[in-house]
């Protein structure tokens, strides 16, 4: 028992053994989710009422073994030996064992015996097991294992009281089993593994009477369709299409509401605060910046809802199984497909979803290419450029040039991602193709509580980040555009800056185009951001961009879609401009450089689109990559190589286009 007189109980078990469901049912909503320091292994804790005394329940990561070959295993080992800082050594371990998959689940239990901590086995999936007409002599199994065994069912609360009782007894007795294996000397370095499985086989043989595996027959029938050589892939595509369609369409209403809400909040602050720098900071910096990121919350929640359901039912493992061959050609794991697909909606949940990939190198490779997938924030940029310069044009008279360009931008992202993964896996992240040894769990109905809890956990992590990193960067960007103040703006009307923007281009039609006073653009020109724009002009002019586009580019490093609102400010066409508003389109078409040449040509637009496909212009993604890789050097490397790639590709587009005689 530790000094605070509070018990610490560890929950250990194989993935898919029902550990999370049991954890949720024991702790209720009193959970704390964080990372173990310095790594991305999730640390889950909750309070558990143990007949009067409170215990801290630690949910260890899902494990097949404790040999410390993966980060999860290392952390679990450290927790059990008491070497993990901030976690007191557990007083008892609850070993979660799936009754329908007894032998392999017991392997971990035999390893848990070695830690000299009392073990209580919680037998899950017992109803599924009994439905299959298998029989198990629990007392016999307990005797053979030498530890208490309790059959539990999280849904019906079966065995919950008994589990409490057995854990209390185990803690009180401090009884650890003298566990000894008869190692076969012939076994070489794997002798211990053989001995453990021999012990398990004997114990299972003596306590279980197996019927024919009926559950597997049902799973096999489902699998005959879902992993079919042709239909399996077809169904996978349909499922993914449905998921992404849902993410876009179901999220649009709550996103509009959130966006409207932040607008109202901004207006409220504007009208109730004395005019001045504080109001500007709050409205244009904080509310607009943080709000602009928080509107993505519905998309993120929906994506994780679907991922949880797919994972819980067992389908995710099948999808990785179906696609592993394709992914391994590039050197990636089959599990990388989902994070990459998710990144078409938004790279942030995509990168968060890479946690399912065990190998660090494969995980990093996936993280580093995820932002190439054209996310929803690029859409306003593509749409604006196409509407301005390529609207109504067709190829062969019937294919819309806009659609072709859109497809080309998406394809460019994918091709570059594949190429980069190919190179990374042979250089910086060199590793043999990741082994693919994966359990295909039987299909199960998802546990709604687990699914919802998982979704809420992700959502909270995202909100927390928006409140810290994104808040800071928003303020910096706002300041860059706000300072130094020029004389006109101090006397002029409300200065507004560019961080606020519409996410999906459906902003309210507010201020009419010409009403906005001139000082807005004057202020921008003289601000630090404006000066930066001038400073980088020599670098970006080979790409076809003048300093004004430069300012928009700098601002769009906060978030891509900021380009639209920044261009609106630069060309004085009103703040709530959307990518389809005619005034912004004509302003871009009419914009002139200082020497009178048009600032924009179709080629400039193309070059800009290519730049946006490849450049790392999203502070939220940068923040999440930093968090998930736990390394600034990898994060900066990603920003660096993506920017270089974007520059080169944009340069080739513009200069190549000019050589071919386009303007």
């Amino acid at each position: 028992m530790n000094s605070e007189n509070q018990l610490t109980i560890a929950l250990a078990g194989n993935p898919n053994a029902g550990k999370t469901t049991l954890f949720n049912s024991l702790t209720g909503l009193k959970q704390k989710v964080a990372n173990y320091p310095g790594v991305t292994v999730e640390r889950k804790e909750g309070g558990w009422q143990l007949n009067g005394s409170r215990a801290k329940l630690i949910d260890l990561p899902g494990l097949y073994s404790l040999d410390a070959t993966s980060m999860d295993e290392q952390i679990a080992r450290d927790v059990l030996t008491g070497e993990q800082p901030d976690v007191s050594r557990p007083d008892a371990i609850i070993a979660v064992v799936d009754a329908t998959n007894l032998e392999r689940n017991l392997y971990l239990v035999t390893q848990l015996f070695e830690f000299k901590i009392p073990v209580v086995v919680a037998l899950t999936m017992i109803d599924a097991f009994e439905k299959q007409k298998h029989e198990i002599d629990i007392d016999r199994l307990a005797k053979l294992l030498g530890v208490p065994v309790v059959a539990v069912n999280a849904k019906t609360s079966r065995g919950k009281d008994e589990l409490v009782e057995r854990v209390r007894e185990a803690v009180a007795s401090k009884n650890t089993i003298p566990f000894e294996l008869n190692e076969d000397t012939n076994g070489g370095e794997h002798a211990t593994i053989f001995a453990r499985y021999n012990f398990i086989s004997n114990a299972v043989q003596e306590s279980v009477t197996h019927n024919d595996h009926r559950e597997h027959r049902i799973s096999d029938k489902i699998d005959r369709v879902l992993t079919h050589k042709f239909f399996g892939l077809l169904i996978l595509v349909v499922i993914l299409l449905f998921v992404f369609q849902a993410i876009f369409s179901w999220a649009s209403l709550p996103m509009d509401l959130l966006e409207g809400g932040f607008g109202v909040l901004g207006d409220f602050a504007r009208t109730h605060l004395p005019e001045g720098i504080l109001a500007d900071l709050l409205v244009d910096g904080i509310i607009a910046g943080v709000g602009g990121v928080l509107v993505f919350l519905p998309q993120i929640m929906l994506l994780f809802l679907f991922i949880s359901i797919l994972e819980d039912t067992g389908y995710l493992a099948r999808a990785a199984f179906l696609l592993d061959k394709l992914m391994s050609r590039v050197g990636l794991h089959g599990k990388a497909f989902l994070p990459l697909m998710s990144s078409f909606a938004c790279a942030i949940p995509g990168i968060m979803a890479t946690r399912t990939i065990e190998s660090r190198r494969d995980r990093f490779a996936t993280i580093l290419i995820a932002p190439f997938m054209s996310c929803s924030a690029r859409l306003p940029v593509y749409t604006l450029m196409i509407a301005t310069f390529f609207a109504g044009q067709t190829i062969f008279g019937f294919i819309s040039l806009g659609a072709v360009l859109m497809l080309a931008m998406y394809s460019l992202g994918i091709i570059v991602a594949v190429a980069v993964a190919f190179v990374l896996k042979r250089t910086l992240l060199k590793a043999p193709p990741p082994p693919f040894i994966m359990e295909l769990p039987p299909y199960r109905l998802p546990n709604i509580r687990t699914v919802v809890q998982n979704m809420l956990t992700r959502a909270w992590l995202f909100v927390k980040r928006a409140g810290t990193v994104i808040l800071t960067i928003s303020i910096i960007l706002w300041a860059l555009m706000y300072f130094p103040r020029s004389a006109e703006t101090l006397t002029g009307a409300e200065p507004k800056t560019a961080v606020n923007q519409s996410i999906d281009g459906t902003a309210t039609e507010g201020d009419s185009a010409v009403e906005l006073p001139l000082p807005e653009s004057e202020q921008l020109k003289n601000s630090f951001a404006g000066k930066l724009g001038h400073a980088i002009e020599p670098i970006i002019s080979p790409l076809g961009f003048d300093w004004k586009i430069g300012v928009a580019l700098i601002a769009s490093f906060a978030a891509r879609e900021v380009l639209v609102s920044t261009l609106s400010i630069i060309y004085n066409v009103g703040r709530d401009e959307t990518e389809e508003s005619p005034s912004l389109i004509s302003a871009i078409r009419d914009a002139k450089r200082e020497d009178g040449r048009p600032a924009w040509t179709p080629l400039t637009a193309l070059s800009l689109m290519v730049f946006f496909v490849l450049a790392m212009q999203c502070m939220s993604t940068v923040a999440i990559v930093r968090r998930e890789t736990n390394s600034w050097s990898w994060t900066l490397f990603m920003v660096g190589y993506m920017t270089v790639l974007a520059y080169v590709a944009s340069l080739i587009t513009f200069q190549g286009g000019r050589m071919l005689g386009f303007e």
Binding site: R104, G187, D324, P433, P435, F436, I437, E439
Partner: protein
């Protein structure tokens, strides 16, 4: 590295001449076989064994993925997917 089978299995191997020795990759779909040894080394082999692929266990190939790789096998009452690279190191007999 070669891992000898447990004694009981050794006796069984020598018992008749009908037994066919092959690797898991070559094992026909649906055919039940017994693992005789796992050649190979390092963490991948270790993981295979921790997942229960040890000499003496019976296995069956369920199917191959759309592009022929990976394959799904059944052992100890559960399904395990692995690439042919890994399956090549598992010797079976039926």
């Amino acid at each position: 590295m070669h891992i000898p089978a447990a004694n009981a299995e050794k006796n069984m191997i020598n018992r008749t001449d009908d037994n066919k020795q092959t690797t898991l990759t070559e094992l026909p779909v649906g055919q039940v076989a017994r693992v005789t040894s796992v050649t190979g080394f390092g963490p991948v082999t270790r993981r295979l064994m921790e997942m229960g692929v040890v000499p003496g266990v019976s296995v069956m190939v369920i199917k191959a993925a759309p592009f022929g790789d990976p394959i799904e096998i059944r052992l100890r009452g559960y399904s395990l997917a692995m690439r042919k690279n890994e399956a090549d190191t598992i010797e079976v007999q039926f």
